[in-house]
Symmetry: C2
């Protein structure tokens, strides 16, 4: 259980003080945080709260969205916030196509350039950028990085301490190349963050809020955990689930269900 | 315009006699048909109608669904129907995971075996099996073949006249490997069917009925057509769009809109 980390997105509406207290009470020692929620509560205040509670912050979600006009300043702010929170990793979701555009190559070239531009700042702050491939169903509106292989190609030119990738079971489970790419990610020392969620159907309208808690869906979660472990990765295992029904439940109840699913289906 | 083919799914509720007359009236010379509709109207009757109207049938959708108990008999019936209709190609959608299963490898192995079992029957009937990779968002419930590369790997052991692949822009547009895989598909003489639909968001609940007519979305359709052409492919270009709003419109109106989109965004 010492590798488990609760990603805050799983309990989106659990106020931060209650989330921290709930984790401590449940014996959870690590959390993944989100910018929106930590900024609402106060970044410094959140940092102090988790530190005093003895919790480690495993990642901050998210930077990226390189198709927006203020991406450069916004991502530097995100790196600063990660440093303040003691998060070793800032997750990057690249963003989709600009409105009205069909130029996927240009959007991808922009991601390449933008990451390059952020590397010096990330290195100076001691925060590792983690490129997250999202499921291809998000390619147009959320993330033009659509496979683990593509994320690894993007990371390759940069120092390993500056740029890694996220392996999130929800986004990559369908890929017949994923086992080879996880092995490659380990060999190239690029696994910066490992996240777990399950795939359930039917997908809801807009497809964003359709993830399952571990065990609710069809992903071989244990096989993924073992494959990631086999590369030598010993870092945290975050459970990150977006689902309207999950969010409607009390935070502690969701944490307990998450822990139960994690024990049965991930460990 | 002589390569354009109206896939019946685009005008799902247009009765077959009206569809045939509408195509003739619009100067359309080719149609892609669907099993459900042709069986409802009568396969022999449909065959006679399209033949008398001088229409060519470019494909029949669909066989596959290898996770169902009666897949073998059902797919032989589909091959027979394709032969009766004069369709040179039977599109195969592999099917997803069996209910309750998480064993994606086993489901994929089953697809390999099933296609192998059907090859002699398809060869004897003179019908080419076309493996269609669907978008990865359909991987669990509809099609465990999720990329063009994977479809080509599945086709590789079989004679080219027996097994090819479908290139459908809707399903493969997001893939950073797609241009290389289209080139490979041509080199290996595997392009059996080329279908066009556009990608639009937000996706509807269940994600099946969310496609756009050519030009309504963000796919570089002309680039795909040119890439497929560059392999030496000179076959039909089917427009196949599933969308509840499109289906609610009169067939002829949809055909005209499809032709307009095709001229502007595909040719």
């Amino acid at each position: 259980m010492n590798r488990f980390s609760l990603n805050q997105a799983t309990t989106k509406y659990w106020p931060i003080p209650e989330l921290v207290a709930g984790c401590v009470d449940a014996g959870v020692t690590q959390v993944g945080l989100w910018r929106e929620e930590t900024r609402d509560y106060g970044v410094e205040k959140t940092a102090a709260l988790v530190r005093e509670a003895g919790l480690a912050v495993t990642s901050l979600c998210r930077g990226g969205f390189f198709h927006t006009p203020d991406w450069y300043d916004e991502n530097r702010r995100a790196i600063d916030e990660a440093a303040t929170l003691g998060a070793p990793v800032l997750v990057l979701v690249s963003g989709g196509l600009p409105p009205g555009s069909r130029d996927l190559d240009a959007a991808r070239a922009r991601v390449t350039e933008s990451i390059g531009a952020l590397v010096p700042y990330a290195l100076a702050a001691g925060v590792r950028l983690a490129i997250e491939p999202l499921h291809p169903m998000f390619c147009s509106d959320r993330c033009v990085v659509a496979s683990l292989g593509q994320a690894l190609d993007l990371a390759a030119p940069h120092p390993v301490e500056a740029v890694g990738v996220v392996v999130d079971t929800y986004h990559v489970w369908w890929d017949d190349q994923v086992w080879a790419q996880i092995e490659r990610a380990g060999r190239e020392r690029r696994i910066a963050c490992f996240q777990v969620a399950d795939w359930v159907t039917p997908l809801p309208e807009g497809v964003l809020l359709g993830r399952g808690l571990p065990g609710e869906g069809c992903v071989e979660l244990r096989r993924f955990r073992e494959a990631v472990d086999a590369t030598g990765f010993t870092g945290p295992i975050e459970v990150e689930v977006f689902h309207a029904d999950v969010w409607a439940r009390p935070g502690r109840e969701v944490l307990d269900a998450t822990l139960a699913g994690y024990r049965t289906h991930v460990l």
